[in-house]
């Protein structure tokens, strides 16, 4: 039996927001969240009843984030505002976390950032992450491990204590 879509939003809205934030920064995260849930709602009646809704939503968010990043690359950024990091992960406004960590996350290569988001934020298994990223389970595990290693290097406060294995 399929539950009302509102319940899907209630149960997974927070996780999807945090995943989008890690992928895109606070500014674009909200638009990516909206696009993700609108697409999900369109496809929801066809989702198999036994599907993992969270993995499904993260897969959609993954594609939406790629669209946002591509659009960003097409848009010329005024000189002087080009960040040193390869992405424009926005530092969230006051009260939205630690600017240094955000910068460290934003500086991660795309695949590492995705693997960190899907494993440590969404709690997906590496096999599920491999399906989203393409490639092997080992490659997904390696990308997450490299991502965490880089985060530790650039943001010494970060540990993975208590994170899902």
């Amino acid at each position: 039996m399929k539950q009302p879509f509102e319940k899907v939003v209630e149960q997974h809205g927070g996780t999807v927001l945090r995943v989008c934030r890690v992928l895109l920064g606070a500014h674009d995260a909200e638009d990516a969240w909206s696009e993700t849930f609108l697409s999900a709602m369109r496809a929801y009646p066809e989702l198999p009843d036994n599907a993992n809704a969270e993995a499904w939503l993260v897969t959609i968010a993954h594609r939406k984030a790629i669209d946002v990043l591509r659009a960003r690359k097409r848009q010329p950024v005024p000189v002087g505002e080009v960040p040193e990091s390869p992405t424009a992960l926005g530092v969230p406004g006051a009260g939205d976390g630690d600017g240094d960590l955000w910068q460290a996350v934003g500086a991660l290569p795309e695949k590492q950032r995705q693997a960190v988001a899907y494993h440590y934020v969404a709690g997906l298994a590496y096999a599920e992450i491999a399906e989203i990223l393409g490639g092997t389970t080992d490659a997904a595990r390696r990308a997450a491990a490299d991502g965490v290693k880089n985060l530790r290097k650039n943001y010494p406060g970060a540990t993975t204590e208590g994170a899902p294995s």
Binding site: M1, P4, R21, F37, L38
Partner: protein, 199 residues
Amino acid sequence: MNISPDYFASPSDPDTLLRLGHRLGLAADAEGLLDVAYTTIDSPVGTLLLAATPKGLVRVAYGIENHDRVLDTLAQRLSPRVLRAPKRLDPAARELDEYFSRQRRVFDLPLDLSLSKGFRQLVQRHLPEIGYGQTRTYKQVAELVGNPKAVRAVGTACATNPLPVVVPCHRVLPASGAPGGYVGGPDAKRALLSLEAAA
């Protein structure tokens, strides 16, 4: 600091999610994806759940019906694309508010009767003919719909009315004059009858 889901959370997330949820309801409606919109309102007979399809108001549910269960049923019978999206229910909420403050005697809302079929739907279509402040017996309603022997079936049609208050099954009573059964419980039925009697 752990790299845990909490680390990427923000104290303002609940507000952000409320805002995003609201935005999702509007966008889904604009895209034609909002098969069932719902909201809840406070009333003198408790919290009422209101749900509407693009065709019209499809469900009014009392708290004792268990709103979560009602939403599950709507998802199963109509569509799983169900969102809390109060805007579509604004007219219904306003008319109910007017009804409960004795400023309205007749509901003027598009209704979607697709949750009931056959004889039950036929009875429910006729119930609004019983005017405000009036009552009929189950037997009289059976006669009204042209099936005088179907007294029990009229009772079932009233008990399964998906749109209580708006479709006035509360105006149908047993011949004994006792309030009889009601989807919202006997107290709610008495409350509606005395509200209408006082006007």
